[in-house]
């Protein structure tokens, strides 16, 4: 059910994960430069070189294509099973069909999927927005000022990222319970307001933010606060968009923590999907149909905001 389109690791080490297109582009630029350097370039030599390049790149492309297929297959299978009649849920026929909406009807009748989608959307949006705001403020602080204990503080942020959720789960639960926030979306959001990953990623972006711009803003008489919102944030828009999408997706996919806090309600979609798993057999058709519905908002967001994600990757890769 966890559906992750982009892994955070790709962001933290942009150099190691440069977009393949960028690689190809860089390679082509390189080839062109070499060609310029040669006074009387042999067309034949150049052609054979690029042919060698193409041939040598082929295995990598084949490998990538195979990996892409392997990655996409579970998603394909989810759609195929969801659209099969309930009785054919265990069919192993790799081709789709016969098409039926029976599973979707079951999901619609047995769980309040509409309200689940709405409240999960609200929860994920609140969480992503809160984490983004905290990350912007924290990373701005880290990148802009030098102060005593900065490194230690940053290490603490990184350290908190390394502590597994399971370790802090029970203490957080008790705290949320004492605050009287059990069974509320606020209880789900509150302990996760700060995302160490988001702070780290934004700090990287801000470190490479042109200092001249900041100095210019200061000379223009802008305060630090104004500089942040009028100069830094507008320039970081692609990075913020990419980060926001990632934070939203991970909030959307949350299962364990909401299932602890929202025990009494069937408010969140990831818990709703679980309702079709049982000791007396799983209703795979309904699980796949509910998962398909749960994936749709993420798909839509990714499709419409994909440009920002790619932009962010390419920029950070070239810098």
């Amino acid at each position: 059910m966890a559906f992750v389109l982009t892994r955070p690791a790709a962001h933290t080490r942009p150099a190691a994960h440069t977009h393949p297109a960028a690689h190809t582009a860089a390679a082509q630029v390189g080839v062109a430069r070499e060609a310029d350097d040669v006074v009387a370039p042999s067309q034949h030599r150049l052609a054979s070189r690029s042919r060698v390049k193409v041939i040598s790149a082929a295995p990598a492309h084949v490998l990538l294509a195979v990996l892409a297929l392997v990655s996409i297959y579970p998603v394909y299978w989810m759609f195929v099973t969801a659209f099969r009649p309930a009785g054919d849920a265990l069919s192993t026929n790799p081709l789709p069909g016969p098409v039926s909406l029976e599973n979707f009807l079951t999901v619609w009748q047995q769980i309040p999927i509409g309200s689940m989608l709405a409240s999960t959307f609200g929860m994920a949006l609140t969480l992503a927005a809160a984490q983004l705001v905290v990350a912007v403020l924290a990373s701005y602080g880290f990148a802009r000022w030098s102060f005593r204990g900065k490194k230690v503080l940053y290490l603490l942020f990184v350290g908190s990222w390394l502590v597994p959720f399971q370790v802090t789960m029970i203490p957080n639960y008790l705290l949320v319970s004492q605050l009287g926030l059990l069974n509320t979306v606020a209880g789900v959001v509150l302990p996760q307001l700060c995302s160490a990953f988001a702070v780290m990623m934004l700090r990287q972006h801000l470190e490479s933010f042109p200092k001249e711009l900041l100095d210019a803003a200061q000379m223009d008489g802008r305060s630090s606060w104004q500089t942040l919102w009028q100069v830094v944030v507008p320039n970081l828009r692609p990075a913020l968009a990419a980060l926001a999408i990632m934070l939203f997706i991970s909030a959307w996919n949350e299962y364990l923590w909401p299932s602890l806090i929202m025990q009494k309600s069937t408010a969140l979609i990831q818990i709703g999907i679980r309702a079709f798993l049982g000791a007396e057999g799983n209703n795979w058709g309904a699980i796949m149909a509910a998962s398909t519905i749960a994936c749709l908002p993420i798909f839509l967001i990714y499709i419409f905001l994909q440009r920002y994600v790619v932009d962010a990757f390419v920029r950070s890769g070239l810098k």
Partner: protein, 452 residues
């Protein structure tokens, strides 16, 4: 407005505390004066009921919620908040105790919880489950479990602990050998063939395997998560997992080693399939296998699969080893009271009585398909007679109840780990050909260390 009620509640709490301390002090159990007081008709009480059936959408949730609504109608002064256990990644029913534990830590455990029998020792000794026989008196329990359609005698005391009743058995099932009669017939085995012993099961499975070219028998008991019925397989061969004094782990005994060796032989002979519980269930449903020894609770799912797949589903009792009688064990759960408050305890008891009444089992059995623990409901004149007649698969399950022995819970805080050690050892021997003697004895030693 609030003062009289507050006073009444305080008085009630004081009485309750007194009665509880009286219970604690008396070694002979409850007395008539020590029981928690009845609720007055206008005394409003709210309780929370945690049931793993609510984890699952469809008939499970609908039936439980329907019963809760019926109860609230019959007891307008009691409000029941029904909730599923906290999230976990295992199947429904696998995290009932850990969920209650977490909520206890936060100081708001559910008043009534449906807990599985493997945690009985832990629930009674560590979790703070209240001895119901002390709270309401043994007579009240006897009356509740009796009536025109009493609980089956083997089911009555499954959640008793040290002579006290801590839980009222709620829903459970026994291991039943489901089989695809159509596949048997295709392999030349009569549909009503005798499958009463493991030898006979192996012979029939061999015939089907010879026809299909793949292993045709699945046994949920020998894979992880099936220890409740593995205990039955052990007992059927004269072995036991725990000594009677509950101090010694015994699954490394000669009889236990012999049991797993026999099960491993089924794998060596090419009839026992190596699959996890889900794949086993889906294997029979899809026609990949022809036999499945599993909880009778899966009957409904298999009946649907058989109807859709156009094959005939039949059921037999748990197989025996030669002439020794088969000893089925039960899976499932009982209802426990966790509240310390006398008013809530009384409300909880009223609720438990309702959830284990004739009406409740009529709903639970016909809608979910669980075994009615008030078995005489299925006999002529009983309200479940027609339903039982329409479900011939129920017969082996009901017949087995007479030979039922309880699912043993391990002592100590590491009862889950002990069960895990056993499950892994059984899998290693039965499916992966590990040496039975050294594996089981090693597991026994490790489990023994865990209960010390």
């Amino acid at each position: 407005m609030f003062k009289p009620r507050a006073l009444a509640l305080t008085a009630l709490a004081a009485v309750g505390a007194l009665s509880l301390s009286a219970c604690g002090g008396s070694s002979s159990g409850s007395t008539a004066s020590a029981v928690i007081p009845e609720l007055s008709p206008d005394q409003k009480v709210e309780i929370t009921f945690e049931s793993y059936n609510l984890t699952q959408a469809g008939v499970w949730t609908d039936t439980v919620k329907g019963l809760v609504a019926d109860f609230e109608k019959a007891h307008p002064n009691i409000t029941v908040h029904a909730q599923p256990p906290q999230g976990g990644s295992g199947p429904a029913g696998s995290n009932t105790i850990s969920s209650v534990q977490t909520q206890l830590l936060a100081g708001h455990a559910p008043e009534v919880a449906q807990l599985t029998f493997d945690g009985l020792d832990f629930a009674a000794t560590q979790l703070g489950a209240q001895p119901i026989s002390d709270l309401v008196g043994q007579k009240a329990i006897d009356d509740a479990l009796g009536g025109a359609h009493p609980f089956h005698p083997k089911a009555m005391h499954l959640a008793d602990w040290n002579g006290k009743t801590y839980g009222i058995p709620y829903v459970f099932s026994t291991p039943v050998l489901f089989y695809n009669a159509t596949a048997l017939e295709k392999a030349g085995v009569p549909a009503d063939t005798d499958l009463s012993t493991w030898d006979k099961v192996e012979a029939a499975a061999k015939a089907v395997s010879a026809k299909t070219g793949k292993p045709s028998l699945d046994v949920a008991c020998t894979s992880i998560g099936g220890n409740w019925c593995m205990q039955g397989i052990f007992k059927s061969n004269g072995a036991s997992v725990l000594s009677d004094d509950r101090k010694t782990i015994q699954f490394g005994s000669d009889a236990a080693i012999d049991t797993v060796t026999k099960m491993a032989q089924l794998t060596k002979d090419g009839v026992l399939r190596n699959a996890d519980a889900n794949s086993q269930l889906e294997g029979l449903a899809k026609g990949d296998s022809a036999f499945l020894l599993q909880s009778s609770a899966v009957q409904g799912m298999l009946m649907q699969a058989a109807a859709k797949g156009g094959w005939k589903l039949k059921a037999a009792g748990m197989p025996a080893f030669g002439s020794k009688p088969a000893v089925p064990t039960n899976s499932g759960s009982a209802l426990f009271i966790l509240s310390q408050d006398p008013a809530k305890q009384r409300a909880s008891w009223e609720f438990i009585k309702f959830m284990t009444s004739d009406h409740a089992y009529e709903q639970i059995s016909t809608k979910i398909g669980y075994l009615p623990l008030r078995t005489s409901l299925t006999q002529q004149g009983g309200s479940l007679y027609d339903w039982a007649q329409k479900n011939p698969l129920l017969a082996p399950n009901l017949a087995q109840l007479d030979r039922l022995q309880p699912w043993v819970s391990y002592p100590g805080n590491s009862y889950v780990q002990v069960d895990d050690v056993l499950g892994k050892a059984v899998e290693a021997v039965v499916y992966y050909g590990k040496d039975p003697k050294s594996t089981m004895q090693d597991a026994q030693q490790r489990a023994q260390d865990l209960i010390k």
